[in-house]
């Protein structure tokens, strides 16, 4: 019996993700071949761009940092039965509130200034996501629609604030951007000669913290109870609505952390242009990790490598960096439909429940 469970665990947590990633590359390879390019050349460039020298690997780790926070955020939402598809908007709002504190409050020592900006970013992300949590808890508005819409609103808010003189626009700049944050808010470089910054350490700390929060605290227990069975959670005296708002908020706080860490570690200010894609990446990472905080690390590293390698590949081979979206989508398909992987390996189907994000009862219509 134990041996049987052990095999199930190995299949579900290791074999399925590995096969999924491999299958994702096969599908993406077919897409590359369909455009007339050579998949092997493209993937070689992808790999070179991600790993082959010290700086490439450092850059991969740099790309991994926001993915860890974003993946943790979405995974935390999943555990509470919430599908936070708006991590990207929360990322920008977090960056916005964090950068505001980072440049308006000046002259504090590093150990106060940096955490202050970080907390401000997390608070921004929390508040933005909590809107969707509240609308779900109070009115039953499905978070998939509200968080997507809030993404667009967030981009426009960021654009407005950064573009408008007297608000967050820095004086005397040629392209619209906010002022730089105080030097004491900046996350220091931890690998000389690269851009790898202390945000990487923060990401490594965040993983056990989020694990502890979900698995070992009362809040985490309530969160999982609501995700597992709302009716039972309610019968046990938990406030389902409050837990939803909190879970959504925490999920957004982690996305906000990703945003502000990116600013404090790399840009030091925000511009008015937004690069899309973080929200979907985060979902892919959380699904690949099966919503387990520890699993987020390897999943984020994989996507960091893909992200970093893809730009190099685009330069070298003219295959669009959007290729990694195809890898992602295929990975999710195989992860979410273990029946397919089991079918490939002719494994028996028992215990192969597909991933269930939305809770069964009290489901709100989309």
């Amino acid at each position: 019996m134990r041996a049987r469970m052990r095999i199930d665990w190995i299949v579900n947590s290791i074999l399925v993700p590995l096969v999924s990633v491999a299958a994702g590359f096969v599908v993406a390879g077919l897409a590359v071949a369909a455009t007339g390019a050579d998949p092997l050349v493209a993937f070689t460039a992808l790999f070179e761009g991600a790993f082959t020298n010290r700086n490439a690997f450092a850059e991969t780790l740099v790309s991994t940092v926001p993915y860890v926070f974003l993946g943790l955020g979405v995974a935390l939402g999943f555990r509470a039965g919430l599908f936070n598809i708006g991590a990207e908007g929360q990322f920008y709002i977090g960056a916005l509130t964090g950068v505001f504190i980072g440049y308006s409050i000046r002259g504090l020592p590093f150990f106060i200034e940096m955490p202050l900006a970080l907390l401000a970013g997390m608070a921004g992300g929390f508040a933005w996501a909590a809107i969707a949590g509240f609308l779900k808890a109070r009115f039953g508005a499905h978070e998939v629609i509200t968080t997507i819409m809030l993404n667009y609103v967030a981009f426009l808010v960021a654009n407005y604030l950064v573009d408008t003189p007297g608000l967050m626009l820095a004086p005397d700049v040629s392209t619209p951007r906010t002022p730089d944050v105080d030097a004491n808010a900046v996350l220091p470089i931890i690998l000389a000669g690269s851009r790898l910054h202390a945000g990487f350490i923060l990401a490594l700390i965040a993983v056990p913290l989020v694990w502890f929060l979900i698995e070992r605290t009362t809040v985490g227990f309530q969160l999982r109870a609501v995700g597992f069975n709302q009716g039972a959670a309610r019968a046990a005296g938990m406030s389902v609505g409050r837990t939803m708002v909190l879970a959504m908020g925490l999920s957004g706080a982690l996305a906000g952390a990703a945003g502000i860490v990116q600013v404090l570690g790399i840009g030091r200010h925000m511009t008015d242009t937004v690069a899309a894609g973080y929200g979907f990446d985060a979902i892919a990472i959380a699904l690949l990790a099966r919503s387990n905080p520890w699993g987020i690390l390897p999943a984020a590293l994989l996507f960091g490598a893909l992200h970093n390698g893809a730009s190099f590949m685009q330069l070298q081979t003219d295959v669009s960096a959007d290729l990694i979206s195809i890898v992602q989508a295929s990975v999710i398909i195989f992860i979410a439909a273990p029946a397919i992987v089991r079918w490939i390996f002719r494994l028996r189907a028992e215990g192969a429940a597909s991933i269930q994000i939305t809770s069964r009862e009290a489901e709100t219509p989309v």
Partner: protein
């Protein structure tokens, strides 16, 4: 007052509103077919993007806009079939499956756009011609609004009627709704639930694919990455606000489209000093408000979102 009215130009305002409501309505109709049969479809956005791309690429290659429109519909059906297979056969969470398709659409259109379209210097295929319906287009007020349009808008108007008739006045519609309300009972009554759901999901792909053709072949005659800009999700909200009925969804789409237009008129005509970004937010904020407000009263198909396992 009259000068205000003439400045506001209500006829052109309504006309533009109807046109911009076109993809929203088509997405909403697609979502409706799908959800009435019990399958949630948040993939509409990705399906529209795929339709927009494939429609444009094929029109570009064949120099024929109409082949492009057909290709957009076919591409929508094909990618919707993937959603059907994942959510019906493989029992994947329908939200996850929809997300997969949205991501896949970004990837596929992005990769092929870069390789085949971005580098082309030749002129594009242009846009679908404007048709004036003989006699009817001459009617004051109604004529310019309803009877002087391009193909996708005419098709949208016809499809409202067709979907309404199909859902509420045919045996197929009855079966569809049965599968969405109580699949077990439907199967007991001899209905093949999987088949009904498959057909409806693929039909929703056709509708959303046509909606995609609006962007690339009717509106601007070009393809741009991410050009659907969340319209699939707004269409889904219109479906909810319209209580899963075609006419309701159409009116809701007009509301969303109108909010876009009225905002920009307020600024350009009355010089109301509203920052551009806030006007841009209007449809998105309105969608949030409407989804929150409508949800209490909305009655979704009872079995929507639940994978059905044959017993």
């Amino acid at each position: 007052m009259t000068s205000f009215l003439s400045q506001l130009d209500p006829i052109s305002l309504l006309s533009i509103t109807l046109v911009t409501a076109t993809p929203l309505t088509l997405a909403a109709l697609g979502g409706m077919m799908c959800e009435r049969s019990g399958v949630v479809n948040i993939a509409l956005e990705g399906i529209m993007l795929t339709g927009a791309f494939v429609g444009y690429a094929v029109a570009f290659a064949t120099h024929n806009l109409w082949v492009g429109v057909l290709a957009a519909i076919a591409a929508g059906m094909l990618i919707a079939a993937l959603h059907a297979a994942l959510s019906i056969n493989f029992l994947v969470d329908q939200i996850v499956s929809g997300t997969v398709i949205n991501i896949l659409a970004v990837g596929i259109t992005g990769v092929f756009y870069r390789n085949f379209i971005e580098s082309q210097n030749t002129a594009g295929p242009g846009t679908l011609p404007q048709w004036n319906v003989p006699f009817l287009s001459g009617i004051p007020v109604l004529g310019p609004i309803f009877f002087q349009n391009q193909f996708v808008t005419f098709a949208m108007l016809a499809l409202i009627v067709i979907v309404h008739f199909t859902l509420f006045h045919t045996v197929w519609g009855l079966r569809t709704r049965a599968c969405g309300e109580h699949p077990r009972a439907a199967e007991t009554a001899g209905i093949n639930v999987y088949f009904v759901r498959y057909v409806n999901v693929i039909a929703s792909g056709a509708l959303a694919g046509l909606g995609g053709a609006y962007f690339s072949l009717q509106q601007i005659g070009n393809f741009l990455p991410g050009m659907t800009g969340g319209r699939g999700f707004i269409g889904l909200a219109a479906m909810i606000f319209g209580q899963w009925t075609p006419v309701g969804a159409f009116l809701a789409s007009l509301l969303f489209a109108g909010s876009d237009q009225v905002g920009s008129r307020l600024q350009s005509v009355f010089h109301v000093p509203i920052p551009l970004q806030f006007l841009g937010m209007l449809p998105y904020v309105l969608t949030i408000v409407v989804v929150a407000g409508a949800m209490g009263r909305a009655v979704a198909p009872a079995a929507v979102g639940r994978p059905y396992k044959k017993s």
